[in-house]
């Protein structure tokens, strides 16, 4: 068997680029693995509802571009903005004390070795991983030193441009014991770009450390985004992470969290809003590998027109992982009879003294809520817009960083407005 996804142009370009020797050899291994792999089909469970034919049909290339635009700018956040342009780090600013960032171009031999080990230790069997490795544009290693409370949020502003442009990135976020940081990753592409981003993020939150993390897939138009976020939590670590996906042809993100020490806590929320013919797919997997850990997961989706979404939430509680608390909730709102959601909880519980709750709902708007609006003189159309917005906004309201909320709310209202400004004048 061989891979019917022809990435030879991309691999040739990667091989022609000037890269350190260790990366060349790591790429070579990735390329052979990818070439030997078989493209997932509808019969492959993990890809059953996510069509890849559009991604595979494009002759992807690597491009040198110059105009990447502004990407995402937060207001009044005092963040350090770190630009990654078609996979290449472009940052000359200053980082807060105790925070370091190195690109793979500058790794020492020992750092390269350690980077690869950390990435591979948290890897599963994701089909696009070997492509990521084989065509990696650059890796970036962000480290928050022990006991450092990072004085500013760190914003990775991923930007993409070009025609049939493929980008492969790997960000390693390491929060050392007792440290605390906020990291936002935003992904956008310039207008007119036809792009495929294969973005991986690997997170290690050390003992008693806390990471607040945002992973926002905001590419519009002819964009395809596939990738993974993989996090490991040490003893008493906390990870608060928020995911969002809007726009584009296809977005697929696999998020895996594994507990390595007791007393760790995960709060993971996410929203997805496919409309038109967009497809958005979140696969989450929480591994309660040790006792006494907590996971709370809320994902909500609104599906308009022929939009399609997948939420596959796996929770695995290992035999000795007693006193695990795992909550998972997925709610979906369908605004059109042609929209489609495939939601699937997958619970594997092998310990007996645990609390594990899960729920998945698919609904239209609540009649009682709708009548409350009507009974106050608000038109049905406006009520529907306000209620749909509220359904998502509830999770935005819970964000601890107001500038992130203030960035996302207008994007949502624009999405709901669709040229009917009148209907959205009462949403922020």
């Amino acid at each position: 068997m061989s891979n019917s996804f022809d990435t030879s142009d991309v691999f040739s370009a990667a091989n022609a680029a000037s890269q350190p020797a260790w990366l060349k050899s790591w790429q070579a291994a990735g390329q052979s693995a990818f070439t030997a792999a078989t493209l997932p089909t509808r019969k492959t469970e993990a890809w059953k509802y996510t069509p890849l034919k559009e991604v595979v049909a494009v002759p992807w290339q690597k491009h040198a571009e110059t105009d990447f635009g502004e990407g995402i700018q937060f207001a009044d956040w005092n963040e350090v903005s770190i630009r990654i342009e078609n996979g290449k780090l472009n940052f000359h600013g200053e980082l807060p004390a105790g925070v370091t960032l190195i690109s793979s171009d500058d790794f020492s031999e020992a750092q390269a070795q350690s980077f690869i080990e950390k990435i591979e230790a948290q890897r599963g069997s994701f089909f696009f991983d070997s492509l990521n490795q084989g065509a990696l544009d650059q890796g970036y290693w962000l480290k928050i030193d022990k006991n450092v409370q990072a004085a500013q949020p760190l914003h990775f502003n991923f930007l993409q441009a070009g025609s049939n442009s493929m980008v492969n990135t790997q960000l390693l976020i390491e929060v050392e014991p007792g440290a605390n940081a906020t990291v936002a990753e935003t992904f956008t592409q310039v207008a007119g770009c036809v792009g495929f981003t294969n973005a991986n993020t690997t997170i290690v939150v050390g003992e008693n450390a806390h990471l607040t993390h945002y992973h926002l897939l905001l590419e519009q138009g002819e964009s395809h985004h596939i990738g993974r976020v993989s996090a490991a939590l040490e003893r008493s670590a906390r990870l608060t992470t928020f995911h969002m996906a809007i726009g584009g042809v296809l977005k697929r993100k696999d998020i895996a969290v594994v507990y390595r020490g007791e007393g760790a806590e995960l709060s993971m929320n996410g929203v997805y809003l496919p409309t038109g013919n967009e497809v958005i797919d979140y696969h989450t997997s929480i591994d309660h590998a040790v006792p006494n850990c907590v996971s709370n997961q809320i994902f909500r989706g609104i599906l308009g027109e022929q939009g399609k979404a997948v939420f596959n939430g796996r929770i695995h509680i290992h035999p000795h992982a007693q006193k695990s608390l795992a909550d998972m909730n997925n709610r979906n709102l369908l605004l059109s009879p042609k929209a489609e959601i495939d939601t699937k909880p997958e619970l594997e519980i092998y310990a007996d003294d645990v609390r594990c709750a899960h729920g998945a709902t698919i609904a239209q708007l609540d009649d009682n809520m709708l009548f409350y609006f009507l009974s106050r003189g608000i038109s049905r159309a406006e009520a529907e817009v306000m209620l749909s917005f509220g359904f998502i906004n509830e999770l935005l309201d819970a964000l601890s960083d107001e500038p992130v909320r203030l960035l996302l709310q207008p994007m949502l209202s624009e999405l709901f407005a669709k040229g009917q400004a009148d209907l959205t004048r009462h949403i922020p």
Binding site: M369, F373, L374, S375, M386, L387, N393, D397
Partner: protein, 249 residues
């Protein structure tokens, strides 16, 4: 202002209202009392135009218009206000946005310009103070995490902002202790005026000690079986609904 004639309505194909007549003039307060299952809440919902409440006979004239021909939102814009027994919680939609959307919609139907945000925030703060609802309740989700009394005060706040000509209070006393009841009743009394009428739907006479009605009607078996002045409520309290039912049989 409101004239209900021989109103018959059903819910899920079960007839609840079986020929109800009621006329309300401007400024009057009418209490509707009755045993559970008599159709008290149905009356409020039918008048407000809720889906699932089907009118199968009779007529309702509101300010010279056929009320039953209007959609729920049009009824609200024309001055009808239903204060809910159990106001729904709507997380994610801020109370302030909700109130402004409502007030703007009602003003627009009267040909008035919407308030600017600054004007509205000032007005909403002023009114929420009048109903003793702290200003931060305006920022929270609609009724989200509000206590029973706070929800009722929020209904009152909406009433004050919308300035309706007919207010229907659906079992406003349910879930309130005496202190909360007093606050809500004071709010309602402050809104009484020569051109605003009230229908106070209640099971207990208690509420009517605070909101003293001009007329009391007993609703039983889907129609009004007895009407009188406010003293009728006291008789009901003393003798129970059984007394009326016996008397009318």
């Amino acid at each position: 202002m409101l004239s209900i004639k021989n109103l018959q309505a059903s819910v899920e194909e079960k007839q609840i209202l079986k020929g109800l007549d009621l006329t309300i003039n401007p400024g009057e307060v009418h209490a509707i009392m009755g045993p559970n299952g008599a159709g008290k809440s149905t009356l409020g919902n039918v008048l407000a135009g809720r889906d699932g409440y089907e009118v199968i006979g009779g007529s309702v004239d509101f300010h010279g218009e056929d009320l039953l021909e209007l959609d729920a939102e049009e009824r609200a814009r024309k001055g009808l206000f239903l204060a809910f027994q159990y106001p729904v919680e709507i997380p994610g939609v801020s109370n302030m946005e909700f109130l402004k959307a409502s007030v703007d919609a009602v003003r627009e139907s009267k040909g008035l310009a919407p308030y600017t945000s600054v004007e509205f925030i000032k007005l909403a703060r002023e009114k929420s103070k009048a109903v003793n609802l702290p200003a931060d309740f305006l920022k929270r989700g609609v009724n989200e995490g509000f206590s029973g009394g706070e929800k009722k005060r929020n209904e009152l706040l909406q009433m004050m902002l919308l300035e309706p000509s007919l207010c229907i209070l659906d079992e406003t006393d349910s879930g309130l202790d005496i202190d909360a009841l007093q606050v809500v009743a004071d709010g309602v009394n402050s809104q009484r005026s020569p051109d605003r009428s009230f229908i106070v739907v209640t099971h207990y006479q208690r509420l009517l000690d605070y909101i003293v009605p001009d007329y009391v009607h007993v609703l039983a078996g889907g129609k009004i079986v007895k009407s009188g002045g406010s003293e009728l409520a006291k008789e009901l309290e003393a003798h129970g609904y059984g007394w009326i039912e016996k008397e009318t049989v």
